[in-house]
Subunit: 350 residues, 2 copies
Amino acid sequence: MAQRAKTIYDVAQAAGVSIATVSRALCASPQVSKKTAARVQAVAAALGYRPNPIARGLGSGHSDVIAVIVPEITHPYYAELYSAADAEARRNGLTTMLYCLAADEVAVARFGEHMTAYRFMGALFVGGVAEATDEALAGMLTGLAERMPVVAICPPLPGLQCICLYNDLTSSTRQAVRHLHTLGHRRIAFLGGTSVVRTSGARGMGFLEELRTLDLPCDDIYQHEAGYTPEAGQVALMKLLSATPRAQWPTAMVAINDLVALGALRQLRRMGLRVPEDMAVVGCDNQFFSPYTDPPLTTVDLHPAEHARSAIQELLGARVTPVAPFTLMREATLIVRESCGVQLGYRRFA
Amino acid sequence: MAQRAKTIYDVAQAAGVSIATVSRALCASPQVSKKTAARVQAVAAALGYRPNPIARGLGSGHSDVIAVIVPEITHPYYAELYSAADAEARRNGLTTMLYCLAADEVAVARFGEHMTAYRFMGALFVGGVAEATDEALAGMLTGLAERMPVVAICPPLPGLQCICLYNDLTSSTRQAVRHLHTLGHRRIAFLGGTSVVRTSGARGMGFLEELRTLDLPCDDIYQHEAGYTPEAGQVALMKLLSATPRAQWPTAMVAINDLVALGALRQLRRMGLRVPEDMAVVGCDNQFFSPYTDPPLTTVDLHPAEHARSAIQELLGARVTPVAPFTLMREATLIVRESCGVQLGYRRFA
DNA sequence: TGAGAAAATGAAAGCGCTTACAGTTTTTTT
DNA sequence: AAAAAAACTGTAAGCGCTTTCATTTTCTCA
């Protein structure tokens, strides 16, 4: 069995000073002479002493860990975001702790306990998918923000009192629709997520708005269903096409995310339809597999990693001066690939 | 500002008992009378008291958190594994803490600190991709195992002193090759990961072995390269085909994982080759996107979620009786989809 | 060179909890 | 009903560190 880990007492004894001095020496406190500091550090190193961050937090009341809260980590978007946040935190000497709250209430309760116990130096909340009501969410975040600096990467919530980084999701689908319109499409469908009417269904809203702006038909030709998975995409597409007389089929569709688009692509293939010739498809999120679908998927990049980095930087800044809440919108970028074809003289690659 | 969180002292005072009694009441200790226990619990609930797990760990010397160590979370395989482990842990009243160690040494160092500080009740180590040498890995794990129960989900390492759950990766590629052979393929290529020779390159080994067993040609026709990404797959395939005279092209290929297979599928399409008619493709890992590639990818399922659940259960068991190290191999399952075609009278779906 | 200021150090009180150990009630036994 | 046993509760010592405050040492300048 490995022997008990060295404590500050071991170092103090070995160096012939008090534990207070050791503590100061190791925290680069200005209250200790250069000479002793150096000696203590040497002794600590020699002993292989590693300060215990838990005890440190208990004692000082604050730690260097940032809580990162996402709905679930199996979703590539959140994984990418978390990973970027963790990397940026590490680059700045901080640690990250992951919480996946979509799982169930137990997970949420657990986070509640940790929230007060772990003395987080800040929290990064990542939302986006509609979980809980907007009000409940805003309330929870505001509560969190009373205890520590908080940055939220999610659509701005009314009454939200913390830094909020977001993408105009309305604009992301709007861009997609506009692009399709430019290419000559007039009947465009929407595939995805819960109700289009809710505030959080921004992607659906943007879709509708742009349809109206461009004076395109916006009957029930678009199919809305719950879920953000390939399965959902597949089912939705099937329903959409079987419910519509062939003559009125859309010539293009915008999916709420790349996962749904992936399912749709598959189903289109099953039904013998060609993409983009028979149906143009645009996704959203620019996930790792999007360049490799067949054909490669036109999509919208929300730059999650950049959001993550900004968030960590803000939290870092909040350590010195309290953060004044603000809202920053990052422009989404349309990534044109082959799934939506091109306007004139389009020819499939190879 | 939210007021200070309630402590055990607040509860003690409100209930008119000592903090020791509160502690016992809240830990369902048999040393407290039913009556006081109930009263204390009521008071605690009324006050909205939440025990501080950190302090609890400091005091008792152990916590209910399991450290889960993976190389990186953006890889869908690890995300799925972690997610399953977390869910199972939660179902059993435990918490999970994620460490991604492939990032850099800072991350490793951080884990080292936490390892002694957080009083983990156990650790779940997930390896698989070759990082560090086998010896270093075995050493680290054995060290870990001296401090807490450890379950490793990775190929069995020589000298490893902990529970080890794994898949016979040799067999996974072997199954793939055998299947392709059954379908009539004779020239089969391998696309993937670092050197085939290393122990950890089990997938490559299995591939080679089966080739020999079946008396199939195993020249340098298989291309080995570093990396497990779609990009790598794309590049590898390109190299493979351009380096080989068309007459000797393989008719089938086994990719080291689904990501690589995804890249290969794309490149095949680019080159105008049909799958599976011109080239059968088999992947490995059965990831979420595999049923949605075009054509759907034949692959091998390693049942990561089941591994994760077993691991948590073992750790749970280790809490009562120390775990005797053992090794458990879980059979990988070949998932046949359309990317490898069928033997006779094959016709593409729809 | 000595008084006062500045710098360095140490003692000790937390941080919020668990857990021997000791002390106090009950309960059981005879 | 008194003594012994059992059940409960409280006291206090940690767990490993930070930090305030008091104390000691060193430095500064007359």
